[in-house]
Symmetry: C2
Subunit: 205 residues, 2 copies
């Protein structure tokens, strides 16, 4: 298995757990939000390079940066225009491209499908689920209080959509961005994991 | 295999051909737009029964009718309010429910996923594809003229979306309506057919 698998997911769909299980099955690295963010911060790479980036935090600059177009070398560029969040996003994008170049892996979240959209070796999956399934997981797996869980899920959806729509400049969860969108409530966590393995089997042939 | 499989699809995605292949594989009946429409017209059932339906072609009446709630028996109801299209849709919905009750089958189009949304034995699939894939199929499989193919596809998309959104009262292609959404350009027609068979294998276990 030599593929990079990106997984976008609704909160409570089990997308992260499915990603972990797929990575375990193939014995390949697994990266989630936390790992990508930590790697971006630890690289030191970010601060040093983005210090040269210009004050023009437009969508097109973000796009250029995220896609790896090199604007760093130009000393005329300044740093002030990019927010800390933007700089973190760009550093994360670098980490995502780097780990994808290193070999097969599973990457969950952080607009990885968008960052790697021109990577032909990438399988882009979106995982969603029926609300009841998500609600039950939020309560029983994540420990969210039963009385506030509906509002909590709604807020999580909004945050993820906003993050994706801002940085990726396309709509979060739009099927056109993915090779496959799976309702995890249909096959369950293990069944969905198995289905992803079958996709890879079919793709290999 | 005892499932009813509904397939919604973008024009040019090969959804119809995939549905046919799945039906052949399992040796179960295949129904497309044409067959469903013919069955509805031939049943005679439509004219006779809808002649008693009331003049209130609201979404909620359509919903009630499509869901099979029996309002036919009431002689106070009149027929005039429903357009021919509406009546055909309702007769088609009856046919869809009838064939789904008869046993496993594949049904393509005609909002079958919506008509059968409360049928627990149903697997709901949406098939889409990259534009280039659809364009190539439109030209080479459907024989659409190369010069007008882009406009042709756009019009087909619009017609299907309008039809679905009008009768189903929910958004066509919204992943929440489906168990699985597959980009047929990713695995190809045969690969996507195989994937649907694998879904059924996993579901059986």
């Amino acid at each position: 298995m030599n593929k990079v698998i990106t997984i976008g997911r609704q909160y409570g769909s089990g997308g992260r757990e499915i990603g972990q299980k797929v990575a375990e099955y193939y014995g390949i690295p697994f990266y989630d939000n936390e790992l990508i963010t930590r790697a971006a911060k630890e690289s030191g790479f970010a601060e040093e390079n983005f210090a040269k980036a210009e004050d023009r935090a437009t969508n097109s600059l973000l796009y250029s940066l995220a896609m790896g177009i090199n604007v760093y070398g130009n000393q005329d560029f300044g740093f002030n225009g990019l927010s800390l969040d933007d700089r973190i996003f760009l550093a994360q994008s670098d980490v995502i491209r780097k780990v994808a170049d290193e070999g097969p892996c599973v990457i969950v979240g952080r607009c990885a499908d968008y960052v790697l959209k021109d990577n032909k070796n990438c399988i882009k999956i979106f995982i969603y689920a029926d609300f009841d399934f998500r609600r039950e997981r939020a309560i029983n797996v994540e420990g969210i209080d039963e009385n506030s869980v509906n509002a909590f899920i709604a807020k999580k959806d909004k945050t993820r959509a906003n993050y994706y729509n801002y940085y990726a400049d396309i709509k979060w969860g739009d099927y056109n961005n993915y090779d496959l969108c799976i309702n995890s409530a249909f096959l369950g966590i293990d069944g969905t994991t198995k289905l992803i393995e079958e996709i890879i089997n079919i793709k290999k042939k």
